[in-house]
Amino acid sequence: MGLRKVKLGGDVVGLDNTEKIAFVLRGASKKTIKRLSEEGYRIIFLDSEFKAW
């Protein structure tokens, strides 16, 4: 646990590595969710990516 550094990419569109929060697109793979959970991240699901308004 905590050895692999979680990075942005794929369905992970935002991270707060201090508070361990991951912002993940709804519909992300179970593998991604499992890995983030194992690393201790709280997951917030988003309906869409971040867009410059």
């Binding site: 935002g14 912002f23 988003l46 309906d47 990516e49 971040f50 410059a52 308004w53």
Partner: protein
């Protein structure tokens, strides 16, 4: 007041709006339709509608924050705040609001900043309130030119092909950004008030504690460039009547944007890394604030303030 006090005296074909005369003493923001409002023939007060937030898309003089604005080459964003650089007053908003190419280190082809933004009828001939001053280029994720990376990727793709796999690799450069910000120099003769427009068209009382500028969002969560970081990129910029502050998780904040008006939100991250879609590409931002709160296209550039203590 009833609408019968108003009189339609003409029609602006290019804006597709009626020109309405308002007798002295009547509130031009209370007109029941979108219009160019004048108190003497062709002395324009404002182009307005009485609907919540939508008067932000009209012509507002003196300039205040929270209204539609943008480079003439884009649609519209929001005027964030006011500052000074040396002797001049500058308007503060996003790079992608004051230039059509925020990724470029060069100025936009046309420096005109119009209020309202062009999608709201702003025209360079009569609505140019400021001229582009500068922006911090947004570095996009791009293919790598590094020969070593290219060689490694080429090798990986060769192996993938040999194994009969369809996966292909690409080397990319993923630079990080901290702010999406630009300045525009206020034109001589254009009046301004360092206030934020509330949803009723009157000044919205802010705390004066500026967290930063909204520049992206998902609809339910929005992303804020920290004011303290903006001042690191612009060390000579002085905010007028505001102080740059750091937010804490759980803080209540408020923003007033061109599209969704004044909304309150809650800070859920003060040190986030996010990937943002700019339409022409993606960019990664670090050390940004995330707020759970409403936003939509056109709100970019909105100033985000700590909410006033109850």
């Amino acid at each position: 007041m009833t609408p019968t006090h108003y009189r339609v005296i003409g029609y602006a074909r290019d804006l597709d709006l009626p020109i309405i005369y308002v007798p002295p003493g009547l509130n031009p923001m209370s007109i029941g339709r979108e219009a160019i409002v004048v108190d003497e023939p062709f002395r324009i007060l404002v182009a307005s509608t009485p609907l919540s937030a939508s008067h932000r898309t009209g012509r507002v003089r003196p300039l205040v924050a929270g209204v539609s604005i943008g480079n003439i080459l884009i649609t519209a964003g929001t005027l964030g705040w006011f500052g000074t650089m040396g002797d001049g007053v500058v308007l503060i908003s996003n790079a992608h609001v004051f230039t059509n190419k925020p990724e470029s280190p060069y100025p936009p082809a046309n420096p005109a900043i119009v209020q309202p933004g062009s999608i709201d009828g702003g025209m360079a001939s009569i609505d140019t309130v400021a001229l582009y001053h500068s922006h911090i280029p947004v570095k996009m994720i791009d293919e790598s030119d590094c020969p070593v990376s290219k060689a490694v990727v080429s090798g990986l793709n060769a192996v993938s092909r040999l194994l009969g796999r369809k996966t292909r690799f690409t080397a990319v450069v993923e630079p990080t950004n901290k702010v999406d910000v630009a300045l525009a120099t206020l034109r001589k003769g254009i009046q301004y008030n360092p206030l934020v427009m509330g949803d009723d068209g009157k000044p919205f009382g802010t705390s004066g504690e500026l967290v930063g500028l909204l520049f992206a969002g998902t609809g339910e969560i929005y992303v804020v460039s920290k004011a303290v970081n903006i001042l690191k990129y612009y060390p000579h910029l002085r905010l007028i009547g505001a102080e740059a502050v750091d937010a804490k998780i759980g803080d209540r904040v408020v923003k007033c944007g061109r599209t969704t008006g004044c909304t309150e939100g809650e800070v859920i991250s003060t040190d986030a890394v996010v990937k943002v879609n700019y339409g022409t590409g993606y960019a990664v931002f670090e050390d940004v604030v995330l707020v759970r709160g409403k936003s939509a296209g056109g709100d970019s550039g909105s100033s985000v303030w700590l909410a006033r203590q109850q």
